[in-house]
């Protein structure tokens, strides 16, 4: 891993190194550079869908068809997926790779984002879904690489919560 790489370059390279071919997202400002470079990379099938639980359905189908997939969403999108996690991904043992751009903390300006952020880790913990909050660039590649391997080996989803400490987050314009 090149130490001069950005967070999104590290994620893209790590997905590729682990044979992940599919990236489905609901757009997010912080993820924009990753989304752009995934679209530009012919090794990935990348597209937006209308809702986050739809993305989980798509990667579930892809996994069953033999293709590894990741979903990208922001914190508020996570609030729409507990049913898909609890009734599909977890009981069916699908190694969905879930990347969440964290809002609602470290300078959040929208109360709604702050509240939904508080629900995220309790939901993941109550379902025993492995989750990592990533704050440091030097740990990012290790955490993502090892966690993808664990997800596949143990047939279980994993969630990567990308802190504003890593990405810069979204800042209040005023």
């Amino acid at each position: 891993m090149n130490s001069s790489q950005t967070w999104h370059e590290i994620i893209q390279a790590t997905l590729k190194a682990n044979g992940v071919k599919l990236a489905v997202y609901v757009p997010d400002r912080v993820f924009t550079p990753l989304i752009k470079s995934l679209h530009a990379d012919k090794d990935f099938i990348t597209f937006a869908c209308a809702r986050e639980e739809e993305a989980l359905g798509i990667v579930t189908g892809a996994w069953m068809g033999g293709m590894r997939g990741a979903v990208l969403m922001q914190t508020s999108g996570f609030g729409t997926i507990p049913n898909a996690l609890a009734s599909l991904v977890v009981p069916s043992q699908i190694p969905a790779l879930i990347f969440v751009s964290e809002r609602g903390t470290l300078g959040e300006f929208n109360l709604g984002q702050a509240m939904v952020c508080k629900t995220m880790r309790p939901v993941l913990d109550s379902l025993a879904v492995e989750n990592h909050t990533i704050t440091r660039l030097d740990e990012l590649g290790f955490i993502v690489d090892r966690s993808i391997k664990q997800a596949v080996a143990t047939q279980a989803p994993v969630t990567f919560i990308l802190s504003p400490l890593l990405t810069g987050g979204k800042v209040f314009a005023a």
Binding site: F47, E54, L56, I58, G65, G66, M67, P91, S92, Q93
Partner: protein
């Protein structure tokens, strides 16, 4: 004119499911949506390439899309009810954008949330699911006027996609109940698709 004022015959889901599966000669994958769609798929014969979705109402089409992307040489069919489709209409626009040639959506429209007590869905009065599919970008979306036309539309659908075939159906319940074992269902489906994890 009400948007649903098409004159399609009211048919039976189990009978149509049997007609549908009888056309599957190339190990096509079939994703049965929650409830009666997958109960009747189960009852029609447990093909190794069938997936029975036990929860996650509304996600049969996204799951089918994922399978279609992963296995572009295999045709994939999603069986979905009207209530489930209304819960996740955005997925139709995603299917249209991705435009997989190997995906067909079949909609069973009985105009009710059958399992929860028969409450009317919007398709019973004002929503036309084929018009919604076309408006979402799936140009090849059609109501089947009767069983013969259903057979013909589905045969055409298997030649290329994306496509959507909708059938008005009666309020008869599913004729059997799926085994509720998600791990076994998933593992059997993957084996049926020739996938090792």
């Amino acid at each position: 004119m009400a948007a649903t004022a098409h004159n399609a015959k009211i048919m039976n889901r189990f009978e149509l499911t049997k007609r549908l599966t009888s056309q599957l000669k190339r190990d096509e994958a079939v994703i049965g949506g929650i409830g009666n769609a997958n109960f009747d798929l189960w009852a029609s014969g447990q093909r190794p390439q069938n997936f029975y979705m036990l929860g996650s109402m509304g996600l049969a089409i996204p799951i089918a899309l994922g399978v279609a992307i992963a296995q572009p040489k295999r045709h994939v069919v999603a069986l979905e009810g009207d209530g489930s489709l209304l819960m996740q209409l955005g997925c139709l626009s995603t299917v249209a954008v991705v435009a997989p040639k190997n995906l067909t959506v079949v909609v069973w429209d009985n105009g009710i949330y059958q399992i929860t007590g028969g409450q009317p869905t919007a398709s019973a009065s004002t929503a036309d699911l084929v018009a919604i599919a076309r408006g979402s970008g799936i140009a090849n979306a059609n109501w089947a006027a009767d069983e013969g036309e259903f057979d013909r539309l589905f045969a055409e659908a298997l030649k290329g996609g994306p496509s959507l075939v909708a059938a008005r159906i009666d309020d008869k319940p599913g004729v059997a109940t799926t085994d509720r074992d998600p791990v076994r269902i998933r593992a059997a489906f993957m084996a049926g698709l020739g996938v090792k994890r």
